[in-house]
């Protein structure tokens, strides 16, 4: 196992960890907002780590570029959808109980 593979594996594993953390948050947190918080924050990082890991593993600039695009798109999608969900949730919640 050379250095490249070690780094790749480490990145992938940590990516998985963040995903798991995000999922646990999704399942365990009490309300929509904190769940979104866990999901977006942790998953975006997890996605970055996994993309990075894969890029290192492949070692090709073209693929690295593609992975970067994937991460950016994922980031954008997560941002927008999280924003929309949060807005909707905010509208539906009782104003008294808004955080």
């Amino acid at each position: 196992m050379n250095l490249q593979e070690v780094v790749a594996t480490a990145l992938l594993l940590s990516g998985c960890f963040f995903y798991i953390a995000g999922t646990v948050g999704l399942l365990r947190f009490p309300d929509v907002f904190s769940r979104l918080h866990a999901l977006t924050k942790a998953d975006n990082l997890g996605l970055l780590l996994i993309c990075g890991g894969l890029a290192v593993q492949q070692g090709s600039p073209r693929i690295a570029g593609l992975l970067l695009v994937i991460w950016l798109l994922g980031l954008l999608a997560a941002t927008v959808s999280c924003h929309l969900i949060a807005r909707r949730a905010l509208q539906m919640t009782d104003p008294e109980q808004r955080p």
């Binding site: 798109l73 954008l76 999608a77 941002t79 927008v80 924003h83 929309l84 807005r87």
Partner: protein, 312 residues
């Protein structure tokens, strides 16, 4: 071993999600479970060395079908004015037990049959590999779809057209505004997303189309991706339903079928058989037409509208 573990995890995931789809507390969560089921299925396709299917499953099976299911759920929900939260109706035991048993039996027999099937040489498949070079494409699936079994694909386009025609028949009397409708207020982020995602979906669609000859991809996957862009435009109110199907829309809808048939017929006067492909260019021409038809048909099906127009 790791591979096997992954397979096992995927398999368990698929079965669990299927079960959740069937047993979901309400229809909405059942639909969500089904969408996730589709996504995991595409992993299974990837594991089974069928990347074309993985793409198709993710884009069509999970993506478009999911969007259709959700939008219908919403329409039915809105029209009915009550949340269909009936959940699993408790059927009487004497009915439930035999059905469950029958289903289990079916599983058992199917599994048994499949496991004991003798390994026959797959003649058609072998031949497809052997004669692929004659087609001028290197992706065998594209070769089969647009070469050896092009006739299936052609009729499949007719099926898609029939689905739209059928939906138009039954959706004819729907009140306007059955579409989700434009967002009540403009969210700045949405515009940013669209200005990025829609062009990219077009790009990806074209890429998939072009790649289909040699790599995973093709008209169906590309069409579904393009349709996803269209669905997004509908959802965000950039496109709204029109009362009429415009001429261009009509032409695009039949484009796939018409171009495919015409190219197929073209060689008849030259003494070639029906659907003999005159060259690789013909395959790409057909695929382009298919892609456009598929994308528009799917978007129109999603919108449940005769046509679409840009919102003012």
């Amino acid at each position: 071993m790791i591979a096997l573990t992954i397979d096992a995890i995927i398999a368990i995931g698929i079965v669990w999600l299927a079960l959740q789809t069937v047993r979901g507390a309400n229809v909405f969560s059942a639909i969500i479970m089904f969408i996730v089921f589709g996504l995991i299925m595409s992993l299974a396709w990837a594991r089974l060395h069928a990347p074309d299917l993985a793409l198709a499953e993710a884009a069509i099976g999970a993506g478009i079908t999911g969007a259709l299911l959700l939008v219908t759920w919403r329409r039915v929900h809105v029209l009915e004015g009550r949340t269909p939260q009936v959940g699993m109706a408790a059927r009487s035991l004497w009915l439930t037990l035999p059905t469950a048993l029958a289903a289990a039996l079916l599983i058992a027999s199917l599994g048994w049959v499949a496991l004991t099937l003798p390994a026959e040489p797959a003649t058609a498949g072998e031949l497809a590999w052997q004669r692929l070079p004659e087609m001028g494409v290197s992706n065998p699936v594209t070769g089969v779809l647009l070469g050896f079994r092009a006739y299936d694909t052609l009729l499949e386009m007719a099926v898609l057209l029939a689905a739209w025609l059928g939906a138009r028949v039954v959706a004819s009397e729907l009140r306007p505004g059955a579409l989700p409708g434009p967002a009540h207020e403009e969210v700045p982020l949405v515009g940013a997303l669209l200005s990025l995602v829609v062009p990219i979906s077009l790009l990806v669609a074209v890429y998939l189309l072009q790649a289909g000859g040699s790599a995973p991809g093709g008209a169906f996957q590309g069409g579904a991706v393009l349709a996803a862009g269209g669905v997004l435009l509908c959802l965000t109110g950039r496109l709204e339903s029109a009362d009429q199907t415009s001429l261009i829309e009509r032409i695009v809808l039949i484009l796939g079928l018409a171009v495919f048939s015409s190219v197929g017929l073209m060689m008849l006067p030259l003494g070639e058989p029906m659907l003999a492909m005159p060259g690789v260019w013909a395959i790409y021409l057909i695929e382009t037409a298919l892609l456009l038809s598929i994308a528009l048909t799917l978007v129109l099906l999603f919108a449940a509208a005769p046509g679409l127009r840009r919102s003012s």
